[in-house]
Amino acid sequence: MSKEVEKTEYVSYLDHQGKYKGIFAWIFTLDHKRIGLLYMYAIIALFFVGATLGLLMRIELVAPGETIMKAQTYNGLFTVHGIIMIFMVVIPGLSVIFGNFFLPILIGAKDVAFPKLNRMSWWIYIVGCIMAVASQFLKNGPPDTGWTFYAPYSTSTGTNVIMATSAAFVLGFSSILTGLNFIVTIHQMRAPGMKFFHMPLFAWSIYATAWTQLLATPIIGITLLMLIAERLFGIGFFNPALGGDPLLFQHLFWIYSHPAVYIMILPALGVISEIIPTFCQKKIYGYKAIALSSLAIAGVGFLVWGHHMFTSGMSDQARWFFSLLTFLVAVPSAIKVFNWLSTMYKGSIDLKPPFLYALAFIFLFTIGGTTGLLLGSVATNVQVHDTAFVVAHFHYIIFGGMGFAFFGAIHYWLPKMYGRMYNMKRATIAWGINFVGFNLLYFPQFILGIQGMPRRYYDYLPQFQAGQVISTIGGFILVSGMIFMVYNLVQGARHGSIAPANPWQGTTLEWQIPSPPSVENFDEEPVVKENPYDYK
């Protein structure tokens, strides 16, 4: 296959010389692949900033009392960690990086429907990131509300809440425009013959995500504007002292922020659905069920936000109703997991790094999902609400889920993106370190939470120290593994051996074109008339 590729004369998107030179060739690019890489570089840089803040918190918690920082600094750290990780890393994450790079290729298109809008989305994203980072350094100090900006405290604290919420507002615009672009791309630009049920499952997951981005994000935008208006003009939407209702803020905030969890995780589910059939060399089991379950997760995910508010003073009727709806969302999630396992059954399994990350994803996501059922039930939720248990659950879903899927995706698609291979042995070792480190870091927090350790607390009773120390050790192991993994990937992308067009024997369209692809992706428009996972 590699010889065939070498014979074909083409200029890869990385070597293409356009109107602009140097860094401007990137900043002003309209190529969806370059825009995907721009997002990736920004997001990885921000991820390591957020991870450093997380590690500082872990060091602080290694012993009771003050260790390396004051309590107010700790408040600022967990807020900044949350804002960076949620709004700038995991919400855009897989969707903007791999969605931008691979969605047009997977559906046989030359680019997204609106390339200029796509470029503008990236610019807006960068402006939002600058505003968010600036909010940490301006005169009044970093916001200390947590990433949730709960009212009424957020209406009165003297820290830089307005700048931080304005940043989230701007980032939301980027998200909406990207979602709109992807929806139109999928509706209008599929290759001839490609019906919806011929699309790869990653494209399906991006489609479901895009709808959620488009419909949910305006709600947080309006909510944050209301908060800003309340702070500036004392209007009284949320502050009870002014006749407002703090629960209204929580409702509006979670109407967006729970679907946002699915914006984070749906593309991850799509990535796993790509990796598993490729490394089992087997047609995916239950293609339509997996495709439709993405839409079901997106749809039902809109209606379950109240489980974040079980102890807020919400009515009992609303509590049982939200509990019921929360349990429903487990069904489409489980459909995916069972179908993945069925795909593996009697498959020709190849334990390469992308597949190892997919396996880790299933393990960690299942732990995150089953502990989510405890939080979905009102009776158990009130016992562990606002404890370290919630922190553990959330990180198992988002880091163990989205994070490990991201690692899997980059190991899966890096040969296509850069045209070079990375070192498999190093990648496997890094996977092992990451997996052990992750579980050491977060599993003790389930136990600490059940024992009563509150989340976001700077200090704690001595009885919690053993768990905190184990967790901190896990944090250092995980960060070491990630640094090693990134080193290996960067080395591979720059100096690795030349990658063939189809190193994993995949069947989807990205593996049928050279590595790295040309600017227009395809020399001839592909015609697709069958299931994308046709392993014969």
Binding site: G299, F302, M314, F321, F322
Partner: protein, 94 residues
């Protein structure tokens, strides 16, 4: 494809829609003078929904689009209605 076709809506139709929209705006303001408790929100949202529907249908040419697109837009309306309804399960019983 539907979006490659040019559609012309008569000015007469657009003017009628505009008049209806203005009347509904007047109605939205008028009903605030009545004490309808929780129903005041319901009525305001209902009127706003009708106005949004008319703008989408006539000014944004949704009536000329494919059935799939019309169904998708209708489902968005239904979704928002369900979200508001569920929120009011809390407010009605708190």
């Amino acid at each position: 494809m539907a979006n490659n076709t040019t559609h012309t809506t008569e000015y007469k139709v657009l003017a009628r829609v505009l008049l209806v929209l203005m009347f509904l705006t007047f109605l939205t303001i008028s009903v605030t003078s009545y004490k309808l408790a929780a129903f005041s929100v319901t009525i305001a949202l209902l009127i706003a929904g009708i106005k949004g529907f008319m703008v989408l249908t006539y000014f944004m040419h949704l009536k000329y689009e494919s059935l799939l697109l019309r169904i998708l837009v209708a489902m968005i309306f239904v979704l928002y209605a369900v979200i508001v309804l569920i929120t009011f399960i809390d407010y009605a019983y708190r």
